[in-house]
Amino acid sequence: MHSIDWLQLSVFVGVLALITKPMGLYLVRVLDARGKTWLDPVLKPLERLTYWAMGVKPDQEQGWKQYTFAMLLFSLVSCLFTYAILRFQHLLPLNPQGFGPVSPDLAFNTAVSFVTNTNWQSYGGESTMSYLSQMVALVIHNFTSAATGIALAAALVRGIARHTAQTIGNFWVDLVRITYYLLLPICLVVAVFLVSQGMIQNFKPYTKAKLTEPYTIQVPKTDDKGQPVTTNVAVLVQAPKLDEKGQPVMTNGVAMMVDVPKLDEKGQPAMTNVPVMVDQKVEEQAIAQGPVASQIAIKMLGTNGGGFFNANASHPFENPTPLSNFIQMLSIFTIGSGLTYYLGRMTKNQAHGWSVWSAMMLLFLGGVLLCWWAESRGNPIHQQLGVAVADGNMEGKEVRFGIFNSALFATVTTDASCGAVNSMHDSFTALGGFVPLFNMQLGEIIIGGVGAGLYGMLVFVVLAVFIAGLMVGRTPEYLGKKIQSYEVKMAMLALLVLALSILGFAAWASVSQWGLAGLNNSGPHGLSEILYAFSSANGNNGSAFAGLNANTPWYNTTIGLAMLIGRFLMIVPIMAMAGSLAQKKIVPLSAGTFPVSGFTFVLLLLGTVLLVGALNFLPCLTLGPIVEHFQTLLGKLY
């Protein structure tokens, strides 16, 4: 934990704090159907044309049911749109590598993954998806699922801010305005900046470079028809070696093993076909290309996280320099951070907005410090072999980012529901990997996914206010609104859905053949891989302990369902809460009103978040990363 790393952390938090207010003020204009922005001369005509084509009357607002219905309908239609493109990509243009259609379960998983703002990737981008699939089928959701999240947060804030109102905004207007006025302009600037750092943006087929030092690999031999050539060999099994007297030969008390032919029931040697391997000289490096920068800008800003390449933001083309890395991390937090200011401004209680922001930042710093400390301490098992202790755990990390920027990125990406990775979380130390996992299980309310983070955190705010009310024996109030059993029921529903779905699916997978078949690691780390997959899916995060081979029909389907549950079953109760809050009358402040700003409130909010998270998930975390930590200290291997 070097001093220069502390400087990087301070700069990151400082810059984030500085942009929160301007972003919040801009959001106030964008999220007001009649708001004026300096982009109006360019975008107003486009906005009007879009409403006209959609048949939307922009000044007509919707009640919560109508609003939610419009959102669900839009998600369904755009999901089908993506599914269709993936299934037919071999017939569509912009496919220079000639990829075939995406399989039905993978297409379902991917379409759901992107419509829910998860961007879980069961596929490897550079080996599965045509440029059209990436650019259109996937990128459209990078924009619209982000816009949807922000719209829902705005609707909830309107519900809190308004009184005796029947409506909470118009979904179509929010969708269009957020996309045009917020996401597109920022992405344009960020994308061009990223190209200046070395990120690629082109439509060329993969380029072939001549290797300086060619090497040889073993590949299966094929005949002239392209069929693999096989040869018939005896199956070998291991058996104890026997001496002349028929006694097993022992070395240091252990029986020596030798290979012997396996015999079938008739006593004949069992035979099997194996492919013939031949040497192949590799003289070229195929350099993947594509329109990367435009996709990465929205991937970060919209907390989507789905990468262009399999290695995501650790790939040098997707994250060329530490500076591009810094801008990407900042993009992940920008809108979510601004939304807390928007909350304060709209409810005319700026201290409340900043208090929510502070609670988020404290949780964020706690996560960063733990993860960074664990990774820089490294893995004692490997240090015993001779790895330099000062270097920390570099497995799965890039040299240009080092320990600190990998730990910071991992925390940011799982605090938000982004899910991009610049290092492989699967190879983190046990406690280093615990941080991203626990962040997701808290519900990604630390800044959080764009919009989703705020409405998730507001659920905890309602609970915190409720608990405070119970403690002093008064009807709880939140910003002048009585919090009654309906609101608390809806808040609890949203939380229980999350816990139930993560734990239920993970439990099912860890006792099933299909669940265990995909593991890359055994022991407690295997459980962590499964737990991480379903936490990520439910939290709509999309990062992975990527050793898990989840591209199987079982995993694709269950993870797809978990993503749908985590997104939509959580949204509906929250929107119901928004509708109910909007209708309420304002109760005048009194001496017994619990203030929703200041130190006590922040502490109470933190306590609520951590208590709920710990009660739900500590038992299973104990069996995964926590026990693994102690086993690392003991040097136990699997």
């Binding site: 959609m54 309908l73 597109l184 470079a209 490096q285 083309f317 790895v387 570099m394």
Partner: protein, 196 residues
């Protein structure tokens, strides 16, 4: 019912219009600006040698095994440094396989570079990167390899270290990220030095 169809129209039309704007216009505008302002970088920061042969990208590592070259980090991308199959090993901290491969890499590294059998080895030299395409090695790693490279090429260690320094990139703005030695550009610089 009429209202229902109005909503369907909204959903279908917004999907199509936003697809045109966000997935057609937007990437093309970025493409235009990128190609105009940053032509080299937008196309992969490619390295072309004087004879016109494409040798690789400044951003993507390659595999080297000969003594006269600096060696890149171990790679889990395909058969090693395959940009069409990027990724890490994804082995966890208690993985036997990871333990065995690190043990093997450490033994090889010490033997190749003439280090004592208990000398600590830089972590980046024996672990696979996240992308499998990491173009860099740590400065310490390069310093330990320099005597071997100098001997194989008949150069002085100072000369080799000088090239190591001129091929070291970062930290950005003086404080962001870690310094790293670009292995491909360094090795190409060594080759062109010997060719002179």
């Amino acid at each position: 019912m009429k209202e229902f169809f109005a909503e369907i129209r909204g959903a279908v039309m917004s999907t199509l219009i936003l697809a045109v704007v966000c997935c057609g216009l937007y990437p093309l505008v970025v493409f235009g600006i990128a190609q105009a302002l940053f032509h080299d970088r937008a196309n992969g920061s490619l390295i072309v040698d004087p004879s016109g042969t494409l040798r690789g990208s400044r951003l993507l590592g390659q595999q080297f095994t000969a003594d006269k070259y600096f060696h890149s980090r171990p790679s889990a991308a395909g058969n090693g440094y395959d940009p069409t199959s990027s990724g890490g090993s994804n082995f966890g901290p208690t993985s036997q396989k990871l333990h065995d491969s690190i043990a093997q890499n450490i033994a090889d590294y010490r033997a190749q570079n003439g280090l004592a059998t208990n000398a600590p080895v830089p972590a980046d030299a024996v672990t696979a990167s996240g992308s499998g395409l990491d173009p860099h090695i740590s400065v310490r790693n390069a310093e330990l390899q320099a005597p071997r490279v100098a001997r194989a090429r008949g150069l002085s260690v100072e000369k080799v270290l000088e090239l190591v320094r001129s091929n070291t990139e970062g930290p950005d703005l003086g404080f962001l990220g870690e310094p790293g030695v670009n292995v491909l550009t360094l090795n190409l610089a060594l080759d062109s030095l010997n060719a002179k």
